[in-house]
């Protein structure tokens, strides 16, 4: 068996789905946030794989941007979560439903 693009793509898709599932399942905002990061990582795996197998290089460069953006996103997101924790003393999403209807 040769490991080909389809395997990488499958891997990436499973990783993406796992991330999504995590977002669905978990109630801790921090973990949810990690799962969201997983989804981004999944995309980068596919991107790098495509770059490699298609012989194009731009995908790899794009990963740089994605990683940077993800870092910024994490920073901001964590800041929000911390600020929220200060106000509400919880990071459980089911307790964060004051805004509704």
């Amino acid at each position: 068996m040769t490991i080909g693009l389809d395997h990488y793509l499958l891997l990436s898709a499973v990783l993406f789905a796992l991330g999504f599932l995590g977002v669905l399942l978990r109630k801790n905002t921090l973990v949810i946030y990690m799962c969201l990061e997983l989804m981004l990582i999944a995309s980068t795996v596919a991107l790098v794989a495509f770059s490699h197998f298609n012989g194009t290089f731009d995908g790899n460069v794009f990963v740089f941007f994605i990683l940077t953006i993800a870092a910024a996103e994490v920073a901001v997101g964590l800041a929000i979560i911390v600020a929220l924790f200060r106000q509400r003393h919880t990071v459980q999403v089911e307790e964060l439903n004051q805004l509704k209807h």
Partner: protein
């Protein structure tokens, strides 16, 4: 890749073409510098400075500078300038200017730092301007994420308020989720296209033209279709199309009013600018695929937005939900733009009228709102006509325009979109749109009723807990009056806008 080639590419980096964005970004930086160097008591002038920069750039744009690149691509194909995208730039600048104006009213009510708000608004505006001009998925994603992350901050700006932070968190989670979806879509597209060699250069699916070319030749490519639809999902989040509209009311309610305005107007418009760009370039070959999807989205969005707004009594949520329905009407225009070329201009026309009216409403809200930004009930508008007749008049004009009542500008927007839709044979959607318009009359009119028609019983009951509306100062009067007047005059004489927009 030779150095010469790279040099050639570097030569296409025409910074002059994005001078407005640069000016804006540098202005934003300057704000920070000023904050550091100015003495504390002079810092209150920084917002004025921000407004001045934006106004200047806006005037430059309006005067026709930087529109000379129409039809060209710059930065090695990262950006493409067309007149319609130039219109988008003007739009974002105008909305950021007005948001800064709103911030000037709202921010002093809390104890938050202010300069950062203006900075981020300006950066986001610049990013939006780049976003609509992008011609390349990398550029597109980077600009989009700049906008999104900027909004994360802006939404949760009142970090001492639980509701604001809750809104921030919801926006964060769902925004990141949609970014993930979109990114995966981009990746799939990239993968599907693979390597394309043309003119001695290697091209990839990141480039809009290349991707479009691929889709034209492989309209059934699963990766291409799936990628396109996932990208669409990301855009749907931005514009608040069903079922990705679900975050809107919570976030709108919790966010500071200026942010809400920015989200409602600029973010939505950015989404539509992007959508128009995408369906006009990359996804144009997928018409057979996208028209049904977008039509369904439009119908569901219109119905769902209007129905859920019907009984809503919180003013900010109401604006959000009604904004959802506006997204539906705009989608109608987008669908029409596949077959009717001028529909894109009609969408922009609609967006401009929406901007004028929404900003006027948010301006009034900024005055009526009490210290708790999230608690803005429609009932608080009781007796507004008696207490603040000017605000009531502006509100009536703006809401009427949003409802699409002639002779206000919003009606013209709807008219153009509907005519385009009719020409595109979208009869079913038109029926839905009309049902939506009729439903919308109920809640807009309910709001007007609360503000203008007096019901003595209700006035007594709610007078106690309703905050007293602030008196608008002369700047507010000027701005709000101008917005309302524009909403009215453009209804009578849409010429200034229609002649400017590329309708032919």
């Amino acid at each position: 890749m030779t150095t010469a080639l790279l040099q050639k590419i570097a030569d296409t980096n025409e910074w002059w073409a994005i001078a407005p964005e640069l000016l804006l970004a540098c202005g934003a930086l300057l704000l920070l510098v000023l904050e550091i160097f100015l003495p504390k008591r002079d810092q209150r002038f920084i917002p004025h400075f921000a407004l001045t920069i934006q106004a200047t750039v806006l005037l430059l744009l309006l005067a026709g500078f930087y529109s000379g690149f129409a039809g060209e691509t710059t930065f090695g194909g990262l950006l493409r300038h067309t007149f319609l995208r130039h219109v988008g730039r003007v739009f974002f600048l105008l909305s950021s200017l007005l948001v800064c104006f709103l911030a000037g009213i709202c921010l002093p009510k809390s104890k938050m730092p202010r300069v950062e708000f203006y900075h981020i608004v300006m950066v986001v505006a610049a990013a939006m301007m780049l976003l609509v001009q992008s011609n390349h998925f990398v550029m597109f994603f980077v600009a989009l994420e700049t906008v999104t992350i900027g909004f994360y901050i802006l939404v949760s700006y009142y970090r001492d308020r639980p509701l604001t932070l809750e809104a921030g968190l919801k926006y964060l989670v769902l925004g990141a989720l949609s970014s993930g979806l979109m990114l995966f879509g981009i990746v799939l597209l990239y993968g599907a296209v693979g390597r394309v060699e043309a003119g001695g250069m290697v091209h990839t699916g990141f480039e809009f033209d290349v991707a479009a070319d691929f889709l034209r030749h492989n309209p059934d490519s699963f990766l291409g279709r799936a990628g396109a639809l996932l990208v669409l999902a990301g855009v749907a989040f931005k514009i608040g199309a069903f079922p990705f509209q679900i975050w809107i009311p919570d976030v709108y309610q919790g966010a500071p009013t200026p942010t809400t305005a920015f989200l409602a107007v600029a973010s939505k418009a950015a989404g539509f600018g992007v959508l128009l760009t995408l369906v006009g370039t990359v996804f144009a070959p997928l018409q057979h695929l996208l028209v049904p999807v977008l039509s369904l989205l439009a119908a569901a969005t219109i119905l769902f937005g209007n129905l859920s707004a019907l009984t809503q009594r919180n003013a900010k949520r109401l604006m959000g939900l009604s904004g959802v329905s506006h997204a539906g009407y705009l989608l109608l225009g987008v669908v029409a733009s596949f077959t009717v070329p001028w529909a894109a201009a009609a969408v922009w026309f609609y967006l401009f009228t929406y901007l004028l009216a929404s900003m006027a409403v948010f301006g009034v809200m900024a005055h009526v709102a009490g210290p708790d930004d999230a608690d803005q009930e429609v009932d608080h508008y009781e007796r507004l006509a008696r207490n603040r007749p000017f605000l009531a008049a502006v509100l009536v004009a703006a809401l009427g325009s949003l409802a699409g009542i002639p002779p206000l500008a919003g009606f013209m927007g709807k008219l153009l979109v509907f005519v385009a839709a009719f020409q595109a044979h979208l009869y079913g959607l038109l029926v839905v749109a009309i049902i939506g318009v009729v439903l919308s009359i109920y809640y807009y009119f309910g709001w007007i009723k609360a503000a203008v028609f007096e019901s003595p019983v209700a006035a007594d009951a709610t007078a106690s807990d309703a905050p007293a509306p602030a008196a608008p100062n002369w700047v507010s009067r000027l701005v709000l009056g101008a917005l309302a007047l524009a909403s009215i005059l453009l209804g009578f004489y849409p010429g200034p806008l229609t002649n400017w927009l590329p309708f032919q």
